[in-house]
Subunit: 158 residues, 2 copies
DNA sequence: TTAAATTACGCAGTTAACTGCGTAATTTAA
DNA sequence: TTAAATTACGCAGTTAACTGCGTAATTTAA
């Protein structure tokens, strides 16, 4: 039988293909940290960088900056606290807010992780042959799908 | 604080952004089916199309066609069987293989789903302003990452 | 013609996002 | 100055892929 059916289905498989590439990168990054004996999870890098760069930053601030839901960030920061990479406290100006600081452990490890991610960015740039249009496409898709969802767009056509 | 940090991080967030767009599409498609009262899951469309188009098609064939692992396909087909969309039997020429056929229920529903996905493809094309480079980028990334993983590419640079 | 290798399947558990919903703290308006 | 609305957090459960590992069927080679 033909193994080209995915390509025959063309844009219809865009969703699963986006997810697959994302998963491949994430699983592989996780594996790389393991090989290097670094005890952190891939996306913690993003959070550590944010916390380092901002004196006061809350769960919701991080969520907004990364485009995650606050619940996802909450789960992530809880794990980072448990593993000794973050300290949390209440913002004295607004007791509803939890704010974060780096521990010595994360200060110590950050330079190495930064080095890894500098190379990581190089690798991605090479894979894309230095064409960054894909980011623009993702920007547009996110913006547009936030305005009107994929399903609702189909429904209006039916 | 600045909310532009994601863009500052540029290509470093590619992985999470790919996943996010994929998730958005998948959750929304799921929701759309619910609104239409159609009792199927988003990716079943791909499997139904494959089974319809091939007289004899096995779990591993489907996996290869869609780029999924056979285990993922197995999970999916089991659910489809349970919900009455597929019938499975053993390939008489190779008793190791499970092969699939459509039920009357899926024959009945397929035209409607096909219509939905024709529009779905239109929506995606519109979101991308009819530029299909993103598929080429995804092709390249998948091929390259299969040859040498993301993590291993970083490790060779360290 | 049996032992070893390969292929196919399927179960159990994992991953990183998600949604839904409830509670606590703060702000706004009658 | 209290009632209603908003904002922030966090728990529980879901999603669609994944990996790991074991077993059954088939094929290959000594």
């Amino acid at each position: 039988m033909s193994n080209d059916l995915v390509k025959d289905l063309g844009l219809r498989t865009l969703g699963t293909r986006l997810k697959r590439v994302a998963d491949k990168m994430s699983y592989s990054a996780r594996d790389m940290y393991k090989q290097l004996g670094i005890d952190i999870e891939p996306n913690w890098y993003l959070v550590l960088t944010l916390v380092k760069g901002n004196n006061i930053i809350s769960t919701v601030d991080i969520a907004r900056s990364l485009g995650f839901t606050h619940q996802s960030v909450n789960t992530m920061t809880n794990r980072m606290i448990k593993r000794g990479y973050l300290i949390s406290s209440k913002d004295p100006n607004d007791l509803r807010k939890t704010v974060f600081n780096l521990t010595q452990k994360s200060e110590d490890i950050l330079p190495e992780i930064e080095k890894i991610w500098n190379y990581g960015e190089e690798v991605i740039a090479e894979l894309l042959h230095n064409q960054k249009e894909i980011l623009k496409h993702l920007d547009i898709m996110e913006d547009e799908l936030n305005k009107l969802s994929f399903g609702d767009r189909i429904l209006t056509k039916l």
